[in-house]
């Protein structure tokens, strides 16, 4: 099997991630629920992972790192936790439904939503973004990279505009966390939402958000916190304020091992390898008859994704054929990115997305190109 769907979830993981999860399954008590050996083993591991994530994103410290199940939960938490009816909010056509649907939900409750578009290559209209921010907004929700095209947004520039205007800047780093440098201070990010199972290479069911100190996010869920048991209201202290119930300690153990792997290998080394694989694939695929690409491939700094179609062929048929005939795993259809597809006019056809991991090889790229030539 050749797995080229790492933008959906990482299948290839460092061995230490698997070992960490297995070890955690038999050694971890419930973090922050008592001080016996097993509970403290869990609490210390989770605390250290918070520290690693805060350092990775240059956040405001471990107490500002909140664990969730995935980016979708993180984004829902922020959208519903900082917006109120009457707010003007800016987002982009590059967003995933994990951003768009919660925003549409809030739109029905009275927020005013402006959606900034892209050019024909799927690049964000930065002039329109600047204008939308200058017009005055409570918050900007912006993806770091399109999950469909791999195009990267200049979050430092957008963040700078937001900071000048007094607008909150929320970044969806689902496709970039762990593999692209993100600096919450330098990029002026107020909330960074991430998932653990994609470019971070941790287990599914891990994710979180890093919140700038001082920013209050109303909780989506309340309940057990391990502290202040007899209070009727959920604690306001971070991170407990946004973490009701038992955390996924077993998964977080794997995430911790994955971050350690990234640090050992070097984020730049891993990213450049992934980008080279994607670039090689793109270049070698160019002369396939009828092929059409989506995204800006003129720049190196892009997520390791190649989005394409073969003539007018249904993306689902192409992807299914690759899976059935060659055991090559790709993602067809809409990718939960409805506005980006509308922009490209591919709502009916969909797009076949090839996404690369640093565990893929040039031989796999070559085999996939050969397969595509046979379609």
């Amino acid at each position: 099997m050749i797995y080229l769907d790492s933008a959906a979830t990482s299948l290839y993981r460092p061995a230490q991630v698997v070992e960490a999860v297995c070890r955690a399954l038999t050694t971890l008590g419930n973090s922050s629920r008592g001080t016996h050996t097993a509970a403290l083993t869990g609490a210390r591991m989770i605390f250290e992972t918070r520290q690693m994530l805060s350092n990775l994103f240059h956040g405001d410290g471990p107490e500002q790192v909140v664990f969730t199940a995935n980016s979708t939960e993180s984004l829902n938490m922020v959208v519903k936790g900082i917006l109120t009816p009457g707010d003007r909010v800016v987002t982009t056509v590059m967003e995933h439904n994990s951003v768009l649907r919660p925003l549409y939900e809030m739109e029905r409750q009275g927020i005013c939503l402006e959606i900034v578009g892209t050019d024909d290559l799927g690049r964000l209209d930065m002039a329109a973004m600047r204008q939308a921010i200058d017009f005055g907004a409570r918050a900007v929700f912006c993806t770091h990279a399109s999950n469909l095209t791999g195009n990267i947004n200049d979050i430092r520039k957008i963040g700078g505009w937001c900071r000048e205007a007094g607008t909150l800047f929320v970044v969806d780093a689902s496709q970039t966390a762990g593999i692209f440098p993100i600096d919450m201070q330098e990029d002026f990010v107020d909330v960074l939402c991430f998932t653990g199972h994609k470019s971070l290479m941790g287990p599914q069911g891990t994710g979180g958000l890093c919140v700038r100190k001082g920013l209050q996010v109303r909780p989506l869920v309340t309940g057990g916190s391990g502290i202040k048991t007899f209070d009727k209201i959920h604690p306001l202290q971070m991170p407990e304020a946004l973490e009701a119930g038992t955390l996924n300690g077993h998964g977080i153990s794997g995430l911790k091992a994955a971050i350690a792997f990234i640090q050992e290998q070097g984020m730049d080394t891993l990213r450049i390898k992934e980008q080279n694989l994607a670039r090689e694939f793109y270049q070698r695929a160019q002369d396939i008859p009828g092929i059409r690409f989506y995204g800006d491939y003129s720049v190196m700094e892009r997520a390791p994704i190649v989005a394409l179609n073969l003539g007018d062929e249904d993306s689902a048929e192409v992807s299914d054929w690759l899976a059935r005939e060659y055991e090559i795993c790709t993602r067809p259809g809409g990718h939960c990115a409805p506005l980006m597809h509308r922009r490209f006019g591919t709502e009916a056809q969909g797009i076949v997305r090839f996404s690369f991991s640093n565990f893929n090889t040039m031989d796999e790229v070559e085999a996939t190109i050969s397969a595509l030539r046979n379609y």
């Binding site: 973090s31 922050s32 629920r33 008592g34 001080t35 403290l40 609490a43 210390r44 605390f47 918070r50 471990p62 107490e63 391990g226 502290i227 202040k228 048991t229 007899f230 209070d231 604690p235 202290q237 971070m238 991170p239 407990e240």
Partner: protein, 79 residues
């Protein structure tokens, strides 16, 4: 062996993250002590506290200040 109660300095925190930061800093600086459940004399309602011998109170307070650890209170209790 029957349990013997001794005087201890007990530090409480607004969140468990601060308690774990305390433990990490104490280990790093070679200050003895350990995490315990918050004693009922301070607060009924779970959470973690740092317990150490009373002699270390000054050293702990200096470290808390230097590291910016958020604490709720510092107590001396017979535990």
């Amino acid at each position: 062996m029957p349990r013997v109660k001794r005087m201890k300095v007990v530090v409480t925190f607004p969140s468990t993250v601060q308690a774990l930061k305390m433990e990490q800093c104490c280990k790093r600086d070679g200050l003895d002590g350990r995490l315990i459940p918050v004693p009922k004399q301070i607060s009924a309602g779970c959470g973690m506290a740092w317990a150490a011998v009373p002699d270390s109170k000054t050293a702990l307070e200096i470290m808390i200040s230097q590291e910016g650890i958020e604490v709720e209170g510092v107590y001396e209790l017979l535990l």
